[in-house]
């Protein structure tokens, strides 16, 4: 599959200069001089001053990946051409297959069989495409090209990818579409092997084979966060036991995720909140230290931690300070960067504390970027988990923290689910 996610050459079948078309969007996303890109379309001879091939077989060089974005009635013939050309993989963006009607289903089954017999990988059909930012591949018609990062996003919705693609950094993006060739489980296993990937994020509506899905999630090494859509109960068939009436489809799905060690997110924001904690911080236990320069935020943080059965161990006395040593440790509103360093070092080095939450409310004397830099230095010295809650208009500091793998949340409440996910990492 490596050759599909890092192809030396790509053919765009359905390349066009028509405005707002998938074909043009693919050209814009793919044609970045990092690899050979060929245009295929029988109705053009040139596009943007480049040669357009009528058929993929007309290309003299070898082609690793063929991206197909043409009306479905022409797809089968083009797949035949790809087989003749001996491409390594076919990515079918076109829709109208098993997701649409019986005719589409039969067409899809024929295509799958042909490609299987020829040993050619199939991505899709009916998908947005794939991206592998670390090798500058964006074989999708997404509106943006994603930044490099460490999250592998595997999604059963293309629109879901579109909506987050410019907000986070990714190691891989896969829109699985109908997953008729490469299956959801195979993508997950591939992401587990991918060097850049530190966490796997899944958007799931449903799975074909629950056991296969469960078994792959259980067997992989990297942490997984998933969001499950489609929770409204289906019309229940005749149910004759208590167990039957209590075991809704979603309840069982959610339990299977939990049993496989997957963190389940309830919102898109929460999904990426959890993902960045899992990607950047290690496993921790439920004993937490909190350092804050704002009393209120500290108390809220303590409340949320208490509600979720986290413990706040006693803080050892710190010499020569003007504040009381409690947990949360309130180092006062006028805390300087030196105050932060002294408090954070003292708390994090305590043996019975497994993770440190550092809260910063923006006050008159707060030197936010200096604090961020100091926290990054502390994180290098200690192997324990660090999470920050920098609030207010301090985007530069937050950027600095996150560039150095310290996850920041702008509300104490948002710390809880990510922190919980670290417990089972």
């Amino acid at each position: 599959m490596n050759q599909i996610f890092n192809p030396k050459s790509v053919a765009i079948i359905g390349a066009t200069d028509r405005k707002n078309s998938v074909g043009l969007c693919l050209i814009n996303n793919l044609d970045n001089k990092k690899r050979d890109v060929f245009f295929v379309n029988p109705t053009y001879t040139t596009l943007f001053g480049r040669k357009v091939y009528a058929k993929i077989q007309d290309i003299e060089e070898s082609v690793d990946l063929a991206v197909i974005a043409i009306p479905k009635q022409f797809v089968e013939a083009v797949v035949d051409d790809c087989i003749v050309k001996k491409v390594k993989g076919v990515l079918i963006i076109s829709s109208g297959f098993s997701e649409y009607d019986d005719f589409g289903r039969e067409l899809q089954e024929r295509i799958v069989l042909k490609l299987k017999e020829s040993g050619i990988y199939l991505i899709g059909p009916n998908c947005l495409g794939i991206a592998n930012p670390s090798v500058n591949l964006n074989a999708s018609f997404a509106p943006n090209t994603p930044k490099k990062g460490d999250i592998a996003l595997i999604s059963q919705s293309g629109g879901f990818i579109d909506s987050v693609i410019d907000s986070y950094g990714f190691s891989l993006i896969v829109s699985v579409g109908n997953a008729a060739g490469i299956t959801l489980e195979e993508y997950i296993a591939f992401a587990d092997q991918d060097k850049e990937t530190k966490v796997i994020a899944l958007y799931i509506e449903g799975v074909k084979d629950g056991r296969k899905f469960f078994n792959v999630l259980k067997s992989i090494k990297k942490p997984v966060v998933a969001i499950k859509a489609g929770k409204i109960p289906q019309l229940q068939k005749a149910i004759s036991s208590h167990t039957g009436s209590l075991a809704g489809e979603y309840r069982v799905f959610s339990s299977a995720l939990r049993q496989a060690g997957v963190s389940e997110a309830e919102s898109m924001e929460e999904m990426f909140d959890i993902a960045k904690a899992l990607a950047w911080q290690g496993h921790c236990k439920n004993k937490i230290g909190v350092v804050t320069n704002g009393g209120g935020a500290g108390v809220l943080m303590a409340d949320y931690l208490y509600d979720s059965e986290f413990e706040l161990p006693k803080i050892n006395a710190i010499d020569n300070v003007r504040y009381k040593t409690n947990n949360p440790l309130d180092i006062m509103g006028d805390a300087t960067t030196l105050d932060y360093i002294k408090a954070c070092e003292s708390v994090i080095s305590q043996r019975d504390i497994s993770a440190l939450i550092i809260i910063q409310t923006p006050q008159m004397t707060t030197t936010s970027l200096d604090n961020a830099k100091a926290i990054v230095e502390i994180s290098k010295k200690y192997s324990k988990s660090i999470i920050t809650v920098f609030m207010g208009n301090v985007s530069e500091s937050i950027k600095y923290l996150e560039e150095h793998n310290i996850p920041n949340y702008t509300d104490p409440k948002r710390v809880i689910k990510p922190l919980k996910s670290l417990l089972k990492k």
Binding site: G210, S240, T243
Partner: protein, 205 residues
């Protein structure tokens, strides 16, 4: 349809699932003998492969503490049409749980654990795991319940060994993953200081 009484018994035995001491009888003489053997108080309940909700038709009589009441109870239950026989069972008091299993359309056999007897459907305080699973997973199932405190002798209640509950769940998960069934209810499972007893079995095929 519910599996025959004797077949249910065999299945439970095969997977080391302990039921409350009970006898399946068809006449009054045997009913009284069974009650004597078990020792009063006892429970009488009808068994019919077609009857899913026997309390709804008055098919369960509890706290029978002498032979006169036992005779009356037998006559009353025996008059219900279409029954296969009557179960005479030791009256057991303690905390009530539900253990169940079903075939999920996506994931296959799953096991459910819940606390709360008749209120289980109201509070929806249940947990699920795909079968089969080990003791560690079973313990996490118990831990997931909001009402897990009940097991620790809540307000003077009995102290229940979590390991014993976990073993029951593990054995149920083995049954669920190896045998043919549609749905299973062990409801209630009653727990007290003496142990854990499945008091009612419904294996639907």
């Amino acid at each position: 349809m519910i599996l025959e009484y004797t077949k249910q018994e065999q299945l439970l035995k095969k997977y080391n699932l302990k039921t409350a001491l009970s006898f399946f009888i068809k006449n009054k003489k045997d009913a009284l003998q069974a009650a004597n053997k078990i020792g009063y108080p006892v429970v009488f309940k009808i068994f019919s492969q077609n009857c899913l909700h026997r309390t709804d038709i008055g098919g369960v009589i509890t706290k029978i503490d002498n032979s006169k009441k036992a005779k009356e109870a037998f006559d009353k239950l025996n008059s219900i049409k279409g029954i296969d026989g009557i179960i005479v069972q030791k009256q057991i008091d303690g905390l009530e749980f539900i253990v169940g299993a079903k075939q999920d359309s996506v994931f296959g056999p799953v096991v459910m654990f819940g606390a709360g007897g008749v209120l289980v459907e109201l509070f929806n305080d249940v947990s699920f795991r795909l079968a089969p699973f080990n003791r560690r997973v079973a313990l996490s199932m118990i831990d997931e319940l909001r009402s897990k405190k009940l097991l620790d002798g809540f307000r003077g209640g009995p102290n229940i060994k979590k390991e014993a509950v976990a073993d029951l769940l593990v054995n149920t998960s083995l049954l669920a993953s190896k045998e043919n069934f549609k749905e299973i209810d062990f409801n209630p499972v009653i727990a007290n200081e003496k142990g854990l007893f499945i008091c009612d079995v419904k294996i639907i095929q």
